[in-house]
């Protein structure tokens, strides 16, 4: 397995605000106010995000949703590792 360098603490990344809607100049780390204005809805464009990830056979690597544009994507949120269902 390729082991990427990884520190203890990394920015969590998270939702990416479309640059047209930004109230602050930088594209990273939208404020909680900006996040609370964004809502995913069926029939509308998915909200892009980036997150740190573990990938089997790869190791730790950030994943960006829009890198999968052009494919069918299934997002599965679940309550927690080591839970019961």
């Amino acid at each position: 397995m390729t082991q990427l360098q990884d520190g203890c603490v990394k920015p969590v990344r998270g939702p990416l605000v479309p640059t047209s809607q930004l109230t602050t100049p930088q594209a990273e780390a939208p404020s909680i106010q900006e996040v609370s204005k964004m809502t995913a809805r069926v029939g509308q464009e998915a909200i892009d995000f980036e997150a740190n990830a573990f990938i089997q056979g790869v190791g730790f690597q950030p994943v960006k949703l829009s890198d999968y544009k052009g494919k069918w994507i299934v997002l599965c949120f679940y309550p927690g590792d080591f839970t019961f269902v």
């Binding site: 998270g14 809502t39 029939g43 998915a46 990830a53 949703l65 997002l75 679940y78 590792d81």
Partner: protein, 145 residues
Amino acid sequence: MAAVAVRYEELKALGVEVLALSTDSRFVHKIWQEQELSKMVSGGVPFPMLSDAGGKIGMVYGVYDEAAGVDIRGRFIIDPDFIIRAMEVLTPEVGRNPDELIRQIKAFQHVRATGEVTPSGWQPGQVTLKPGPALVGKVWEVWKP
């Protein structure tokens, strides 16, 4: 999540990429994979396991439970144009049904390819509907629940 993982080959054959997300760190994902998931799913969970620490992604997708500090069970289908086609959100006690996930993907792929629409419970090979003036009031002739 493991139930979706065991159907991964089928999903891959449909051209689907799966991303799993919880508020756990990438480190915990790795150990869960090694200690438990790899014993439930041959080879382990094959798709990326993302860390939504702080729940901001869950918040915009409407699945973040602030009181518990976790993302509840939510499943979204996104098409190649990056449009969200389906969402299903459950409180945590009840697991998902991967059969229904796969059925919906097949139905959305059929709709995208043909412009037809699929009635309730549609499975590949079953009758579809061609919306238009000729069908108004005549659905009963071609389809019954």
